[in-house]
Amino acid sequence: MAVVHLFVEPRQPPVGRVGVQLALASISVLDSREAQLGRRVKEGLVVPMSTQAAPARVDLPPGTYVVSVDLPSGEQLTRPLLVTGLEPGPIKLVLSARESPVARESARPRAVRVGRIVLDGADAPRRVRVRTTDSADSVAQASPEDATKRPVSTLSVGRRMARPPPREAALIESAPVPDERPRMMDVQASGLYYLGRMSGTFHVSNVRSWLTHLTQRANSGRRMPGARTESGQYVDVAALEGPDMGPRQGGDFREGAQREYVAQRYACSLFPDGRISGLAVVPWHWAARRDGHGHSPVSIFEDWDGMKRRWNLRLAINDGSTSSVLSYLTQGDLGNAQLLLKDSLAFLMSKAENPYAAAAGGYVLIHSKDDDIDHGDWPWWLRNLASWFPWLPDAQILLATLLLQRRRLADRIEPGLSERYERRISYARLLLERAMRAGIPIYSVGFRLLIENLEILSEMQRSRRPNAAEEGFPVRDALKVVRDLGSCITSVQPMTVLDLGELWISVP
């Protein structure tokens, strides 16, 4: 047996206080004489994405192996490994993350550079935009072959179709990083209703008004001290005690709509003229775990996109484990998210300590098959999360999803509820109303579920099912607002980050 120490080197050294993310590795035997791929000898190995952290350790008999690592970004790394059994000490195997468009979409600014203008015979001139990487050597260049490579939406004319007139060629220059960085403002939105009161002066249809109100608050907010980087800036956001955010143990998710409670905190990026360009929903605090980032729950990065001439806002949770779980989930890798969650389920279940992390775990649970979860009482756990933390939109969305989309499990939060249609729908409507009132979901996956659930209610309303909608909660208006805001989510990030720059222009 030989000891193998497995590391994953991140694509770039971490900036700020970002915690060490975790990746999942598997090891298979590679035998060239076998007709098929060799058997998998190890799987579910948790590997820290840092060469400074303690590595994953695995014992292997002599042989030839392939080590495969699924990164939270969706990227997969593979490396061969030869074990002779004669090694004097542990074998150190380091897999390095490479540049990946998927990772870039989710975690980095989208730096784009003009390649060149190409002509395809008599067709219209086209502009080719080529993504660049950090290294000047590896800048992708449009090759001569590119003359015939176009987006699906720019293909040449078919035989039976008229040929459109050629367009003028356009050369787009990548703009340099402006010297003046945006102002990053801390907006504590307690008392700032998401879109106004949900009853009485309910005005969910008026996003503009909300934006105006938010802008006033942002301009008078506290400026977050940022550190300059070559491409922009970053801010390590300090933890704050939010207003009355402790668990309301004994609370009941079935309580009426009169309880209004907003406890959101936003990081708003401001244009020089004071308009908001971006908004990130920020947790107030984050209970420290083994990686000890409780004092700074998140870091915010703002990088310049020279092609689009705009700033990109990105928010990273500094708790590496939770951030990894969320990243796997956001990339559609539920299996690895489940594997990683098993390691930390106990922590997530201690929701009184960290409801944000608990909600992150809740998203994995709500997407999982019931048989795959060891704890059969998880629906009750979601019920408590929603009851104890009425200010957390994600908690309300999770329980509403269980009631609307996982009816069979509803009996575990109230006996007989799965068969009591009207009651179940009434609860779900209440939860969604409370979610809307509490603010913006902190996780982007929650945004998608919020839209789905509102659509289900809207459909029920259309088919005149009882209790799907009541006065005071116009579901279709709410759906429109959520869609408007959802359209501002322009990159794949686990946390909710809204690009409000265009909303300013488009909302009447």
Partner: protein, 377 residues
């Protein structure tokens, strides 16, 4: 309806049902003959979708998809200018992908899947697509823009369809979306979207009972590419990865299998290695767990051989060696930026000869999804 492989009447055994849609000709967008849509300038003329639909149809018809348990039971194709040769030799045009035809095709496809929970459904759409934020993709049908004030009347709201399909009895569903995912705020802000979900939400007892795998041809916010008079880059990469690039192991079963995730990774690796287009497919699993789509027998792995520096690649005679024997070779001067070959999994040595000098690379293990080889000269 245009079934290339028609389902047998009364057959209730589980199987695979495939719906392929390629929208090349948009009546109200550039190149179309209908009254132009007001914001038609935001779209370009398409060519690839018909080629892509045809290529996938031929591939499926050729029996290339080998599921461990399920046979392919039906294949329906919609295309703008495709013709299908029937058994009696007559050539008939396939259904044009107007919204009405797409809707009816989806209804038939749903009904076929609804017969048995072990059914596997595959949906492929190639054409114009729009993204308008979270959970809001529109698949534009051929008559998009026919209603001047409500163009999305002739579009499918993809996420709505996906959610509605969870009500179908078929427990395994794959969606292949070969569309651009750019946002067009001018359009989405002016018109109410995102389209018709076709399958209105019927909430199943437990949404997690259904496994839905989605493979996007490109990453969020980016474009999807194609070549002139050829299938799209994604369609080509999709078919190619079934030669072996998508082979992965399952912990519970011996052998090599393809899942949506391994397909996505293999297509991404292929597209990156050949460097034709800046496009990276993505997969997601909105419901349930990933599942096996294909079982591999003997397979090959794509290999890309290059010199360092890159400029020397075209000047090199390449050869591939296994156990001291030359397996393959390539002469210099092909004009390609790499030497691409397909090899069975194993360990190989690659050599580059430039004039009288022979440069030998390190021994290379070739295994899925792809083997990049660099020889320093």
């Amino acid at each position: 309806m245009t079934y290339l492989k028609a389902p047998e009447a009364g057959d209730t055994d589980p199987g695979i049902h495939i719906l392929l849609i390629g929208v090349t000709n948009y009546f109200h967008l550039p190149g179309g003959r209908g009254e132009p849509f007001a914001l038609a300038d935001d779209f370009d003329v398409l060519d690839a979708p018909d080629y892509s639909g045809r290529a996938l149809a031929d591939w499926f018809l050729g029996g290339n998809l080998t599921h461990p348990m399920l046979p392919v039971k039906s294949i329906e194709l919609l295309g703008s200018r495709l013709r299908h040769q029937k058994e009696d030799g007559a050539k008939v045009p396939v259904d044009v992908p107007t919204f009405a035809n797409v809707q009816q095709a989806i209804e038939r496809w749903f009904a076929l899947g609804d017969v048995h929970p072990q059914n596997l459904l595959i949906f492929y759409f190639c054409g114009h697509g729009l993204q308008d934020g979270v959970g809001t993709h529109s698949l534009l049908c051929a008559d998009f823009g026919a209603h001047r004030l409500n163009p999305f009347d002739h579009a499918v709201h993809y996420e709505g369809l996906e959610a509605g399909m969870r009500a179908c009895a078929a427990r395994q569903q794959v969606f292949l979306l070969d569309i651009c995912r750019r946002t067009e705020p001018r359009i989405s802000r002016r018109y109410g979207g995102p389209g018709n979900k076709v399958v209105a939400l019927q909430v199943p007892d437990d949404a997690a009972d259904v496994a839905q795998s989605v493979i996007w041809a490109t990453s969020s916010g980016a474009g999807a590419f194609a070549r002139k008079n050829k299938p799209s880059a994604f369609a080509e990469a999709f078919i190619k990865c079934f030669e072996g690039g998508a082979a992965s192991q399952m912990s519970q079963m011996p052998g090599a299998y393809a899942t949506a995730r391994s397909i996505s990774q293999a297509t991404a690796a292929w597209m990156e290695a050949n460097g034709e287009v800046p496009q990276e497919p993505q997969s997601s699993q909105p419901a349930g767990k990933p599942f096996v789509l294909h079982r591999f027998g003997a397979f090959t792995v794509p290999v890309f051989v290059r010199c360092i520096p890159q400029a020397a690649t075209d000047a090199a005679d390449f050869s591939c060696w296994e156990d001291g024997r030359k397996r393959r070779s390539r002469r210099a001067g092909t004009g390609n930026a790499f030497w691409r070959l397909d090899l069975p999994k194993g360990t190989y040595t690659f050599k580059a000869q430039i004039r009288d000098l022979v440069f030998e690379g390190n021994e290379t293990m070739v295994y899925p999804p792809l083997a990049p080889v660099f020889i320093e000269v």
